[in-house]
Symmetry: C2
Subunit: 210 residues, 2 copies
Amino acid sequence: MKHKSIITADDHPLLLKGLNDFLIEKGYNIVGCGANGREAYNLITKLKPDIAILDIQMPFMSGLEIAKKCKTNGISTKIVLITIHKEKELYNKAQELNIFGYILKEFAIEEIENCITTVSEGQPYFSQKIKDMLNTNSADDEALNVLTPSEKKILKLIARDKTNKEIASLLFISYRTVEKHRSNIINKLKLEPKTNSLLSWAKEHHDKLQ
Amino acid sequence: MKHKSIITADDHPLLLKGLNDFLIEKGYNIVGCGANGREAYNLITKLKPDIAILDIQMPFMSGLEIAKKCKTNGISTKIVLITIHKEKELYNKAQELNIFGYILKEFAIEEIENCITTVSEGQPYFSQKIKDMLNTNSADDEALNVLTPSEKKILKLIARDKTNKEIASLLFISYRTVEKHRSNIINKLKLEPKTNSLLSWAKEHHDKLQ
DNA sequence: GGTGAAATACGTGTTAACACGTAATTAGCT
DNA sequence: AGCTAATTACGTGTTAACACGTATTTCACC
């Protein structure tokens, strides 16, 4: 298992060093490492490693973009993302691309060996800790699924500080329709009956609105 | 210089490993390291190191809290904070406490040796990169300084979804006064003349409101 | 080809958040 | 003691964001 070739990449030099040192001490076969997304992608195309352990957030190219390009270019390197992001959105996106692993940096040391082992065998590995977190924190996410497509579209515009009339213009509908949607959204989300509870909610959850 | 005793602490195991490995390779005298704020503080009180390199965001006790306790307890350990936070607020707080250094994790490897050298000589070291960033990114921060204490207090409550009447009750003043403050804040911040521009602004900048 | 959900829209009314002007009181500073 | 900024407060008016009910059209789906 430890003969599998691995490359690593993170724009965080200290973290990259920590990761490399750890894996080398454990006897893994690190064949390269990059300081940003572009370097990482170049390494992958050149070395065609078995596994690439990548940060999501990197300059020039994100871990997700790298995964996408690998998929379209038919590179069989198995991508493992290692990140601080706990957002469900990213987690879902990761599962859609051919990503084999997703680890949180907080628990990297405990989980990374398990992850590499599992991924080496061709099985995906998604941190249990992430699953736990997403489950405990998904009340609002579920609420979002109650909304219809139009309602979601309007919510996004509300989060961008658009007034009802502006939204109406943008969507070529009456501002009264927007008002009605707004009212319906408040009902569905069961927001407290305050004047600006909807704007407030939209602002607080704007990261989940796309 | 390299004989100075140093302890490190970060709740991020990989990063902590990267930091320790790096410093040890460079020949520094690492006498201990902690995985969270409490461990870090215990190490400091026990070992009284010359320098403590701490993350800001840690469980149980933040780097800032540790600095504060060291100050009140008369411990002369020089605190260096190493963080991903680019917020001016934290930077300012750091300068108020007896903190000797402030480094961004992104540039840690380039700057940490300089920092340790400078701090060892009893001089404070604050990353030039932070200063650059704060200057380019401080339009809103400066705007905040235009506000009076009462106005800031009200802004915080607005960001917490309080209505004018609720704020009035909380502060034992008339809701008309709150309205006036609100109007004045909008003028000072030069917000666009929209109905909820203030709530919107407060929500977007609530992290800078304390 | 009917049925239900979604999208569209209006009538009517209430309220919170503003604008703009004015003004009294308080607090800090010299 | 005197000056300035801050805080407090009201009058008056406008508008955006709601609530609640109702009604038509569109569309997917069986």
